[in-house]
Structures are given as structure tokens and as C-alpha cells.
């Protein structure tokens, strides 16, 4: 091969790779699809509202004032940037790669959820919607939505499954303190998926004055895109912090996946860095071999629910299955459509972590680092520790510590047979 030929081949490869990377970064397409996934499977009543939201967002994301307002609040209200912390004792315990924690648990309200809520509350303000609604499972997104509603002077109603309300009473009270109305949902399985359906029913009815703050990278287009974009601040910071601290990119990133917003937020800025492994940890509940888990990427099949086509926990008749996880925030039968796409094209890997492994990681994180992680985040940590053991000491794994575990104290106390009152 001549020098020129070689150069041209290299250039060609570079173009092809750049093309591929660009294709990854600019997903979804114009109509809101990530390959075969995503889209807009909703009632006609909502189509115009979704188009308006899409147009408003596409305009505002290039609006300097809007983005400045967003970043101002991320810095001064949420407390960003969140640290990238070297978990030295967890690393020693695991015995391998360095484990770094991206401390989203230190955010105002205690989880990554607030990043997205700030962005969407600003959108609601710009679109002239005085009322916001949200669905919530564990209550983290409900609290974050109620928080931004208070901060921006919006009326707020949160839909929450009746069973989740019983499990998460501190968060319910907290939302009420923030001035939100919490509506128990008694239909279906009385959990997160039913709360989402009920929020969609509210939106259909009050679409003129109401903005629906979806809490994860699911739902109809443009939600998977805009929630991802607002959460991408996690990955953008982590990338810079890693380069600053180590002069290189991480070897792997691990994040828990329910709907998948914290994972998408930390993955997205690394999509083009093909040497960085992106690993999502789904909840395996009582085990993938049982029916009691919530791991659609590991054990589900393609279906359509809540406005989007994605992997879903369903039976052969296309009926959605009840799911189970010790972590209410991961207890959802679907997953964001971009994760479905990243799985299919093999840019991200998805593993499943059961309750026991998550609980073990939860306890180790408390004992060895003095950090109380959310049970959700403990799923990611559990996998990261096992992965670290198989890697070199010079390698770096970033775990998205997506939330803090104060809300899980009643659940944990019950497991340990402690009475708190």
C-alpha cells in the first residue's frame, strides 16, 4: 500500500467512524425514532401538544438565555458540578480497577432527577403552562417535580400508585410540604406504570394549560430526547473530571437502569468514545429465572407502552406483566427506547443484578465509604465491584451514584427487623 493510499484509507475510515459516531449522537431521527424504537404512540389529542413541545425544545436548546438559566440553576440551586469521587476502600475490597463514584446523590433533593426537572420546568414556563403534572414510583421524581414547581411558581399534581404511597410515606409528605397535590392511583397494579397511565389521562384532559414532566427517558417523542439532553450534564461533567484527574477516559461506566434516565445521562456524552464500555444494570429482583424482576432488556421483548416502542415485560398475548424489584425506582416494565437501540447495536451492554447483590453493595458502600446509596444506585455499584475484580488496577470504572438512600431507610430497617417509630 502506498503512503497516499494508506492516508486515503485512514481518512476514509475516519470519515466512516465519524459518520457512525455522529449518527449515534444525533439520534433520534426527525420523527423521534431510535432505529425501530421510540416514536409517538399516543392519542390524537396529544399529537399537537407533542409537536409544540418538540418545536419549543428545538428552538430553546439553541437559545443562549434559556441554556444560561438552566445552567445557573444547575450550579446554584442543584449544587453542580457533582464530585467524581475515588472510592478507595470499595476499590480495595473489590480488588482491581479503580472505582469512581459520580455523586448525583449530593444533588439538591438527593438524586439526578432534579436535573431534568429544572430543564422541563423552564420549558413549561417558556410555553406558558401554569400547571405541571408528574408520575412517580419511589417518589424521587415526584419530589423533584414538586420542588421545581415551588421554585418556579407552578401548580403541581403528582400521580403515585396507591401501593407505592404506602411504601414511601416520607416522600409523600415531602411532596405535600412542597405544595403539590399527591393523587393515589388505584387502577391496575397500583404502581409506577399505572401512575404513568393516569398522568397521561390527566394530560389528555388538561392539555391546554398543563405541562407533563416525564421523569425518565421514556414516553413519546420528544421526551426520551429532551430528558436525555437535560441529564447529559452528568456525563459531560464526568468526562471532564475523569480527564482532569487521570488524563484519560474511563474504561467502563456503570449505571442502574429502570426507565434509564441516569444511565442515559451519563452514557450519552461517551457514545462516541468507542473504547469506553457502557454498562446498564437492570433489576433482577428475586432472579431472572423467576417472574419477579423488572429487566426488560435482559428478559423482555419488543412492544409498545406509554407512547414508545421498546423492550417490555409482557406475555405472549402482548399484555404487560407486573414487575418486581426491591427498588421502587427500578420497578417498571419498560425502558427508554434509546437503551433498546444501544443494546441492539451493541454500543451498550446490559446486565441484571438481583436484590441480594444490590443489598450487599448497599451495605458495603455504607460500611466502607460512609455513603448511603439509593437502592437503585446500589444495583450499578454491585455490578461495578464484580467487574472491577476482573480488571487491571490502572483501569477506571465510573459508577453513577444516581441517588442517596435516605428514602430507603424504612425498607432496609424492615429487612433488618428494626422498628423505627
Amino acid at each position: 500500500m502506498t503512503h497516499t493510499e494508506h492516508n486515503s484509507l485512514a481518512a476514509d475510515t475516519a470519515t466512516r467512524v465519524a459518520g457512525l459516531n455522529e449518527a449515534l449522537a444525533v439520534m433520534p431521527d426527525e420523527t423521534g425514532h431510535f432505529g425501530p424504537y421510540g416514536g409517538r404512540f399516543v392519542s390524537e389529542v396529544l399529537m399537537t401538544a407533542l409537536q409544540e413541545l418538540d418545536e419549543a425544545y428545538r428552538r430553546l436548546k439553541h437559545d443562549k438565555k434559556f441554556m444560561a438559566d438552566f445552567h445557573y440553576d444547575l450550579q446554584h440551586y442543584v449544587g453542580r458540578p457533582s464530585p467524581l469521587y475515588f472510592a478507595e476502600r470499595l476499590t480495595q475490597q473489590a480488588g482491581g480497577a479503580r472505582i469512581m463514584l459520580k455523586r448525583e446523590d449530593l444533588n439538591h433533593t438527593g438524586a439526578h432527577k432534579i436535573n431534568n426537572c429544572i430543564g422541563q420546568a423552564l420549558l413549561a414556563k417558556h410555553m406558558g403552562k401554569p400547571r405541571v403534572i408528574a408520575e412517580t414510583g419511589a417518589g424521587q421524581h415526584g419530589v423533584a417535580s414538586a420542588t421545581v414547581a415551588a421554585r418556579f411558581g407552578l401548580k403541581c399534581r403528582v400521580y403515585m400508585g396507591a401501593d407505592d404511597i404506602a411504601r414511601q410515606s416520607p416522600n409523600v409528605y415531602r411532596m405535600k410540604l412542597l405544595g403539590a397535590e399527591v393523587v393515589p392511583v388505584t387502577s391496575g397494579s397500583r404502581t409506577l406504570k399505572d401512575a404513568l397511565s393516569e398522568a397521561m389521562r390527566d394530560w389528555v384532559t388538561n392539555v391546554d394549560d398543563t405541562y407533563y414532566i416525564i421523569g425518565t427517558v421514556a414516553g413519546p417523542h420528544p421526551y426520551p430526547m429532551l430528558v436525555r439532553d437535560f441529564q447529559s450534564v452528568i456525563g459531560t461533567e464526568a468526562r471532564q473530571q475523569c480527564l482532569q484527574q487521570f488524563g484519560k477516559l474511563p474504561d467502563a461506566i456503570v449505571a442502574c437502569v429502570g426507565g434509564g434516565s441516569n444511565a442515559m445521562g451519563i452514557f450519552h456524552p461517551f457514545l462516541e468514545d468507542s473504547q469506553v464500555r457502557l454498562i446498564g444494570a437492570e433489576p433482577a429482583g428475586r432472579g431472572l429465572a423467576t417472574s419477579q424482576h423488572a429487566a426488560p432488556l435482559s428478559r423482555g421483548s419488543v412492544g409498545i407502552l406509554h407512547g414508545t416502542r421498546t423492550y417490555l415485560m409482557q406475555d405472549e398475548d402482548g399484555q404487560v406483566l407486573d414487575t418486581y424489584s426491591i427498588s421502587a425506582g427500578l420497578d417498571y416494565p419498560g425502558v427508554g427506547p434509546e437503551h433498546a437501540w444501544l443494546k441492539d447495536i451493541k454500543r451498550a451492554e446490559y446486565v441484571a443484578v438481583d436484590d441480594q447483590r444490590a443489598l450487599h453493595a448497599f451495605r458495603q458502600c455504607n460500611l466502607l465509604e460512609g455513603i448511603l446509596p439509593a437502592l437503585e444506585s446500589a444495583h450499578g455499584l454491585a455490578h461495578a465491584m464484580e467487574l472491577a475484580a476482573t480488571m487491571d488496577k490502572e483501569d477506571i470504572i465510573i459508577v453513577n451514584m444516581s441517588g442517596r438512600g435516605d428514602k430507603d431507610i424504612p425498607t432496609m430497617a424492615k429487612i433488618d427487623g428494626m422498628r423505627l417509630d
Binding site: 392519542s43 399529537m47 387502577s187 407502552l305 398475548d317
Partner: protein
């Protein structure tokens, strides 16, 4: 030509409007559905929308949500629903039956397999609440190949340009969701509905049928004045809950309600 188009032509001949009735397949029990379909036709129903039970009926109000839950308790599937249509066809070859519901059971079955089985069972059309035309292209190809009409929906929020696009894609008829809300909501503004339907009719390329929020004969008659038909769903489904344990009383109550609607609609047309 399909049964739906035949039906509208027949009605046009008699000067009547279509009375479209909705029940969920298997509500309150699987054995009730087919006899009830015949009862409704005998009492003046022009067309039947048969709801396909689904675990997550996003667009329904509380009454129809419970109907889906009752049917799901009997594990009534899409395949069972089509079997009910086939059983209905043993005695009734002319009344159109349209399946109404959510796309996931069809997605799980596969579009082509669904279209074949539905056509063989005697299904005439589909109304899929969560499939706007943009997402229905592939499914439509499968349906049209088997002579099944994809019926699309219009909403109060649909602007004219979009409504024209929806008419282009809709076959058999087009369904106007007459209120912003879920099925059975109580805030129907009849004047507004009449105005909007009259506007649609200036460029409609299919009949326009109005549904959501039609509770009684008076409303049905007012809606029928300007449209090609009215859908009665929640009002019928409420009877299922009220007479869950008494199938004979249920049949009588449904017959009386359908008759009342028919009479009221015939008075205006």
C-alpha cells in the same frame, strides 16, 4: 366493498345515522359478549366496536378501565376477541365489527398474522387509540392487503392540515374524539362538537363518527344532526358493572339503552 361502507350506504338510503356501540370483549364474562352483540344489533345498533382487553388502557376513563380489568380477569386475549367475532359472524354477516384498543397485543402477534386472522374472523376495521397515522404505515399495509379498514381518530386539538392528512389515511370512517379527556368524561360541549364536525364535513373524505362523552339519547341525537354517526360506550359499559351477576337483566338493560339511543337519533335524522 367492505361491510363498513355498505353499512353507511344502507343508512344513507333510509336517512338514518350510524349508532355505533362499544363493549369490551369478555366483559363481564366471555360468554356474555356474542349474545350481547346480537341483542344490540336487534335493538338498532348499526355497527359494533369491540374493545380488545389490555392491561394498560391509557385513554379510558374509570368505567371502561374497570371493563378491561373484568375482561383481563378472564384472560381474554386478542385471539379470543377475534374468536368472538367469528362466532358472531355465524349469525350476522352484515353488521360491521371494528376492533378498538391499544396496539401492543397486535404488535405481539405480528401485523400480518393479525391481519390474516382478523380478516378470517370477519373483522372489518381497527381503531387503535395509540397509533396516530405517522406510526401506522406498516400496519396499514398489512391491514389493507386483507381488506381491513384502518380507522383513524381526530381530536378537538387537531388542526385542519393534520385533519386532512388523517382523512387521507382513514378508511371506512373517521372517528372524532369529541372531547379532551378520557372515555366517559362529563364535559362534552355539544355546540362546540357540532361546529367542529360541520367544519370537518366540508373536506371529509370518509363518514365522520363522533365518540367519547355521549351519554344519552339527547346527546346522541344532537351529535347525529351534524355527523354520520355516534358512538355509545361508557353508558353501555356501566350496565355491565351494574348487572355483572345477572346476565338476563343485563341483556334487557342494554337492549333498552340501545333502543333509546336509536329512537332519539331517528327523531332528528
Amino acid at each position: 366493498m367492505g361491510r363498513i361502507t355498505d353499512c353507511f350506504q344502507r343508512l344513507a338510503g333510509t336517512g338514518q345515522k350510524a349508532l355505533v356501540v362499544y363493549v369490551v370483549a369478555g366483559d363481564p364474562t366471555p360468554a356474555t359478549t356474542v349474545p350481547l352483540m346480537h341483542t344490540m344489533v336487534a335493538n338498532g345498533a348499526s355497527m359494533i366496536e369491540l374493545g380488545v382487553p389490555f392491561t394498560d388502557p391509557e385513554a379510558e376513563g374509570p368505567v371502561i378501565q374497570l371493563a378491561h380489568e373484568r375482561a383481563m380477569r378472564h384472560r381474554v386475549s386478542l385471539r379470543d376477541t377475534m374468536n368472538m367475532v367469528a362466532a358472531f359472524r355465524e349469525q350476522d354477516q352484515s353488521t360491521p365489527v371494528v376492533l378498538m384498543g391499544y396496539v401492543n397485543p397486535i404488535e405481539a402477534m405480528g401485523y400480518e398474522k393479525f391481519a390474516s386472522l382478523a380478516a378470517a374472523a370477519g373483522v372489518d376495521g381497527t381503531i387503535l387509540v395509540n397509533v396516530p397515522p405517522e406510526e401506522g404505515l406498516v400496519l396499514d399495509t398489512a391491514l389493507l392487503a386483507k381488506g381491513i379498514d384502518p380507522v383513524y381518530l381526530l381530536a378537538p386539538t387537531t388542526p385542519e392540515a393534520r385533519a386532512r392528512m388523517i382523512f387521507e389515511r382513514s378508511r371506512g370512517f373517521t372517528y372524532y374524539v369529541s372531547l379532551k379527556g378520557t372515555t366517559g368524561a362529563g364535559n362534552l360541549d355539544v355546540g362546540e362538537v357540532q361546529e367542529r364536525v360541520a367544519e370537518f364535513k366540508t373536506y371529509a373524505t370518509t363518514p365522520v363518527v363522533v365518540g367519547f362523552g355521549i351519554k344519552d339519547g339527547v346527546t346522541a341525537a344532537q351529535v347525529a344532526e351534524v355527523s354520520d354517526g355516534a358512538v355509545v360506550g361508557t353508558a353501555i359499559v356501566s350496565l355491565m358493572a351494574a348487572h355483572e351477576q345477572q346476565p338476563e337483566q343485563l341483556a334487557e338493560a342494554v337492549a333498552a339503552l340501545v333502543q333509546e339511543m336509536r329512537t332519539a337519533m331517528d327523531t332528528v335524522s
